[in-house]
């Protein structure tokens, strides 16, 4: 005998995850147009690694393998890792990162929905700490054919072609007493941020709006993240615009837009109340800025996400919304 409700919305975790993957497509398409089809290979490798790891752990944990593998959550993690990592990263690092994300960050905490940390970002942090040089090899903008790309990801021979990332160039340049204006003359920079990357960011923005329209995400997280980052970078920029890049540069550089719509919006490891979401995402934006500008790593979003993940239980606890009839307005005071 079943109990009410007897009807349910035709929604499923699979649909939620599928919406996220669809929303990533515009960004990926622009990525391919700017850097060549190699990223698709990375997406494929990471997906296969994630599915294999997921299936294995589910089998070991005696969970329904078919049910959970097809929920696509592992694929979403894999795609985020592939898109956050340098495109010419050696395949074995990509696979290791994906397997660690699925096995250690997700399943060791209990599997889908139970992980306190964002799996993709935890994997990113692990890899950049373990393999800092490989993780900082970013190709300059420009079409790279599949064969060349393949050589890079299997051979790991990349020194010849890489240059500094915009964020890295900015950080080291400004530390070497160059002005922001001078640094921006470098060939790594495009219209707003890194050459080519601002268009990819636009693709993520389109995908994010799509998810918002489908109600997969609410506006709180992306808006608060971008606002937090803009506010703190704007403050420093106003203080000294020769030493601190503009808010627009920061929003258009690195993983800011990918993070705004796809990383900080991870419901599992993020804050869940409306006010909590604002605090959580703004916190990530602010911390990421400090790590970018004053820290040891070129892009601080991954560390910022993990740091704020730690705060989620507290944030959620302290930001519980008022319950119906307990709002103290409209005569409904209790």
């Amino acid at each position: 005998m079943f109990t009410s409700p007897f009807v349910r919305k035709p929604a499923s975790v699979q649909q939620v995850m599928f919406t996220v993957l669809v929303a990533l497509v515009p960004g990926v398409a622009i990525y391919v147009s700017q850097f060549g089809p190699g990223i698709v290979v990375n997406l494929l490798i990471a997906s296969l690694a994630a599915i294999a790891a997921e299936a294995l752990v589910l089998w070991l944990r005696k969970k329904p393998v078919g049910l959970y593998v097809t929920d696509l959550s592992a694929v979403v993690t894999a795609w985020l890792i592939a898109l956050a990592f340098p495109p010419i990263i050696p395949a074995w690092i990509l696979i290791l990162a994906t397997v660690l994300a699925v096995v250690a960050v997700k399943h060791l905490y209990g599997g889908l929905g139970q992980n306190p940390f964002n799996p993709a970002m935890a994997a990113y942090c692990l890899m950049i700490v373990a393999y800092p040089s490989a993780m900082s090899q970013w190709p300059p903008a420009g079409w790279m054919d599949l064969a060349t790309h393949w050589q890079h990801i299997v051979g790991g021979n990349m020194d010849a072609i890489t240059g500094a990332t915009p964020l890295d160039a900015m950080r080291t340049g400004v530390r070497g007493n160059a002005t922001v204006h001078d640094v921006l003359q470098g060939n790594a920079f495009g219209v707003l941020g890194g050459a080519g990357w601002e268009y990819i960011g636009l693709g993520y923005l389109v995908g994010g709006l799509f998810m918002w329209w489908r109600k997969t995400i609410t506006w709180h997280l992306p808006v608060a993240f971008l606002a937090g980052m803009a506010a703190i970078s704007g403050l420093f920029w106003l203080i000294d615009s020769t030493r601190y890049a503009s808010p627009l540069f920061h929003l258009a550089s690195g993983g800011a837009l990918l993070a705004a719509f796809f990383i900080v919006t991870d419901p599992v490891s993020g804050a869940s109340t409306p006010r909590g979401k604002l605090i959580f995402a703004a916190g990530i934006g602010v911390i990421a800025y400090f790590i970018r500008t004053f820290g040891a790593y070129p892009d601080g979003i991954a560390f910022a996400v993990l740091l704020m993940n730690i705060c989620v239980p507290l944030i959620d606890m302290k930001t519980q919304p008022a319950v119906f009839g307990h709002k103290g307005s409209n005569g409904g005071a209790s």
Binding site: P5, Q320, F324
Partner: protein, 566 residues
């Protein structure tokens, strides 16, 4: 007047499936051979049966009388013979039985002599009693006695008439509003007078344009301050607190009633029943019920209370693959534990189910904290938090997160992409908390009993002491009296003080006397056949004792039998 509509957060929009049953006029259900009239109709009380098996009853004759505060009367729905008063499965998810009066219909359907309420010299209390004796209860589902709700004293300015009917499939109120709007409004005006409201607001979901139209047309024929308001069709807009929020902007917190905020809410069907009772003296013996779902002929029927549900569903001709029956709507209703349960006053809908129409829920997956449930919750709760706490049996936390503000509307479970049966977790937590409360109450009662027993023993001891003290005082007074008398005899003019001293001395003397007697009475036991040496020892000891006894003088002036001060 109302400036505009207010909103409540959340809510869902399931497929309404209203068209199936809303197309045809209300039919009268055929008379069943036997009626099983439950004696338990109003909230939480069972009426006392006043008929015997074998007794003939007329339609509308009272067969159950209210005993308790929340009770209402129960009437025979048709004329016939009472063939038994026994336990019968009731329309409740538990499948438990309730006492039912079983009436074999004689087919004549002969009314008892009945007439409308006589208004001459009638007080408000008389009217409320009339409603109680006509067995009028809320027909929206909760079957709360209407005379209690209408009898709520003062401070009510708005009467809300609930015609929202937000659950999918159900159309009985819709049809009633279309077909008998004048009766409904007449009942509403009676209720308005009883509660002392200045205005009436009728809330109807905007997916029932015909009902809104009919009600608005009927309002023109009345001279009351009645507004018919179309409200957005968002489930659960028909929840009493949600409806009040939408119409008046007032949020009624958990544990409070609309009446606490000047609003009293009645279902449209209840208003009609009130009118029938007051105008014609017709007790509540039938109601409109929607028959729909996996049936050939969905629609609404006016059926007698006590009609077996099987008979009703058969009316609508269920299709071959029908596998179960839902009572109420699919959001908050429940699966009937048996098909032969009788129609109760609160049953508004019966839905025949087939596996394709209501498929079993997909397997439950893990919560991904997506927050869809929180966005859908009309009570502004965080359902997934309650789910985590319920799963962890962390009931204290669940309560802290307002578990008991949950109205079990099912919106959260409806939207959950992980197909978690969220409401079941809350039901579990609530029942666990209630069980613990009961245990605690039992423990408290045991402790109270223990403490009361201790207190009683203390009190008895104290009372005994007081009695003894009083007795002693009486003795003292008596002795003093005697002493006085003696003094009087001797003619001495000693004062009261001397008399007192004498009394004391007499008391001491008396006490000494008694002590001496007691001690003298003490005799060594087992003194037969003792060896001479031992006898000598005893004699010696006895001599010593007697010697000690002689000079003893007590140093106190209270009698020896006076108790110690408590």
């Amino acid at each position: 007047m109302i400036a505009g509509l207010f909103k409540f957060n959340g809510g869902v929009k399931p497929d309404t499936h209203k068209n199936e049953s809303a197309q045809t006029p209300i039919r009268t259900a055929p008379m069943p051979a036997r009626l099983f009239v439950p004696l338990r109709q109003s909230a939480r009380t069972t009426a006392r049966c006043i008929v015997q098996p074998g007794q003939k009853v007329l339609k509308g004759e009272r067969i159950g009388v209210p005993d308790e505060f929340l009770g209402t009367a129960i009437h025979a729905p048709t004329s016939g013979t009472v063939i038994g008063v026994e336990l019968h499965t009731m329309a409740h998810a538990s499948g438990l039985g309730t006492r039912c009066v079983i009436i074999e219909a004689d087919g004549e359907d002969r009314w008892i002599d009945h007439h409308g309420f006589d208004k001459v010299d009638a007080t408000r209390e008389d009217k409320l009693a009339w409603l109680r004796d006509c067995g009028v209860v809320g027909l929206g589902g909760a079957t709360f006695p209407s005379h209690i709700k209408a009898g709520r004293g003062t401070g009510i300015d708005t009467l809300v008439l609930n015609g929202a009917e937000c659950e999918p499939w159900i159309t009985c109120d819709d049809r009633l509003m279309r077909e008998q709007p004048a009766d409904i409004l007449a009942g509403a005006l009676i209720l308005q007078e009883l509660v002392g409201a200045t205005r009436i607001v009728v809330g109807i979901e905007d997916n029932k344009p015909e009902a809104i139209e009919a009600m608005r047309a009927a309002v023109k024929d009345t001279d009351g301050d009645i507004t018919v308001t179309a409200i957005p069709s968002i489930y659960p807009a028909g929840g009493e607190k949600q409806l009040i929020r939408v119409l008046t902007g007032i949020e009624i917190p958990h544990g409070k009633l609309g009446a606490d905020f000047g609003v009293q809410c009645f279902n449209v069907g209840t208003a009609r029943a009130v009118y029938r009772a007051m105008a014609f003296g017709e007790p509540l013996i039938s109601r409109v019920v929607t028959l729909t779902g996996n049936v050939e002929q969905p629609g609404n029927v006016d059926a007698l209370i006590g009609t077996p549900v099987t008979d009703l569903i058969a009316q609508a001709r269920p299709k071959a693959d029908t596998n179960r029956t839902l009572l109420g709507g699919p959001m908050m209703g429940f699966e009937l534990p048996a098909q032969d349960v009788p129609l109760g006053k609160g049953i508004n809908c019966l839905i025949a189910c087939s596996p394709s129409l209501f498929p079993p829920p997909p397997p439950e997956m893990n919560c991904i904290r997506c927050g869809a449930c929180a966005r859908a919750c009309p009570a502004d709760l965080q359902p997934f938090e309650l789910y985590w706490f319920s799963r962890a049996k962390n009931f204290g936390k669940a309560q802290e997160y307002h578990l008991f503000d949950c109205i079990e509307c099912g919106c959260c479970a409806y939207v959950c992409p992980s197909h978690i049966r969220l409401v079941d977790y809350y039901r579990f937590s609530k029942s666990e908390i209630w069980a613990r409360e009961r245990e605690k109450a039992a423990a408290d009662a045991a402790r109270d009993r223990f403490e009361f027993r201790n207190e009683r023993q203390e009190r008895e001891k104290r009372e005994k002491a007081e009695r003894l003290a009083a007795k002693a005082a009486a003795t003292k007074a008596k002795l003093a009296e005697e002493a006085k008398a003696k003094e009087g005899e001797s003619g001495a003019d000693t004062g009261a003080k001397a008399g007192e001293d004498d009394a004391k001395a007499a008391l001491i003397k008396a006490a000494l006397e008694r002590a001496k007697q007691q001690k003298a009475q003490v005799q060594a036991k087992n003194t037969d056949n003792l060896p001479p040496g031992v006898e000598a020892q005893i004699a010696e000891a006895e001599a010593r004792r007697q010697a000690e006894l002689a000079p003893e003088v007590p140093a106190q002036d209270t009698p020896p039998d006076a108790p110690e001060k408590q």
